[in-house]
Symmetry: C2
């Protein structure tokens, strides 16, 4: 897949244009597009929800995506970038991720919501050390695990305990989600050098990235065990 194109959200002249500030603005712009894309996909994928409590839980997760979106949009604007241009520039890569990971059952949808939420939290935990203090609190807020995703964990682990034949296909599904998430993250990093430099600074970039994705994979394996999978 080619790097994202479109109207580049370049900062305007009066914004703080330090190298880190530009990179942080781009990081926020990427996360902003991710929240936008996640909101609409989550609602789409909730069509399979079997009952009212499930649909309430999904609606709450979706509402928290929009709260995160608003926080990021404010930060993006404060850096002289246009939130709409940011969404238009980066959403194709998220839409592409969602397209290749369209769930076929309600349990697949729940695992996707849970895994996505968890990967975002891991991503933040690993990166918080390299971000300036102010950016840490913004990213912590928008990447923290939502209470609603616990709902997904309970439903899936109970279903797998009840119907062991679900275990093998859902384990494969979880592995696929991780693979696609890593691939798509790497595409973004390849296209946005400043963001890569910010997150994996200096000569240790490649080694740093390898460790980063190794830790992500370990955390994912723990999470799959929590679901009763893998």
């Amino acid at each position: 897949m080619p790097p994202p194109s479109g109207v580049s959200p370049e900062p305007t002249a009066d914004a703080d244009t330090g190298a880190d500030s530009v990179a942080i603005g781009k990081l926020y712009a990427v996360l902003l597009a991710g929240e936008y894309s996640a909101f609409y996909r989550l609602i789409d994928e909730s069509r399979m929800a079997p009952d009212v409590p499930s649909r309430i839980a999904i609606a709450r997760m979706a509402a928290s995506e929009i709260r995160h979106f608003d926080t990021l949009a404010e930060q993006v604007s404060a850096r002289g970038l246009d939130p709409v241009a940011a969404v238009e520039r980066y959403r194709p890569i998220f839409d592409q991720y969602h397209q290749v990971t369209t769930p076929k059952t309600w349990y697949e949808a729940l695992i996707k919501a849970y895994v996505g939420d968890g990967l975002a939290a891991d991503f933040y935990n690993q990166l918080s050390g390299v971000l300036p203090a102010e950016a840490q609190s913004v990213v912590a807020e928008v990447m923290s695990q939502t209470a609603s995703s616990e709902f997904a964990r309970e439903q899936v682990s109970q279903a797998v305990a009840r119907e062991p034949r679900l275990k093998s296909p859902l384990t494969l599904w979880g592995r696929r989600l991780l693979g696609e998430a890593v691939t798509h993250t790497q595409w973004v990093l390849a296209a946005e050098e400043e963001v890569t430099d910010l997150l994996f600074s200096g000569a240790a970039t490649l080694a740093g990235m390898t460790t980063f994705f190794d830790v992500i994979a370990e955390k994912h394996a723990e999470r799959m065990r929590d679901l009763g999978l893998g």
Copy 2:
């Protein structure tokens, strides 16, 4: 249409069961189901949105429905009622309203969002006098007009100014929305005597209801003029 049926959200023994408290609990239960139904419909109807700013505005309106939903769910639970039972009991009447008012164009969807938001605000303004102080603040919060609906007003009034041929069909559409909203509100009131007594108390019920719906119609006409219609 028959009155709503299903699991009745009757209060449990340990809740405050004063007559007003029961009626307020039922009023909240009805509004709760309305927010739930509105959230999913709004997202469905946003499929016609032509661009990213429109989809952002709709997502924000939807997120505020969920904030309102959470406020009401807390109040419903505090009165010993089950929010899920409340949604299951009353959502058919809202789903029915949405089904007979499914927009066919993006402008119809915008007018529906704007009119629905405005009717909720009018409903509250007229009723606040008869509610106990504590209930006034809850209802004020969940029925207040959202900032995002201003977005709808601007888009529609500009479109009508630009394309005058839109005016006549969109005016008819606005009239239809009002008619269906009034009819469906009357169905709820007919089915829930305690709520009707709370809102239009005593001997003056029928006269009070007539005045109520007259004021709603006047406010609606003002709102249509704001949109450049009627």
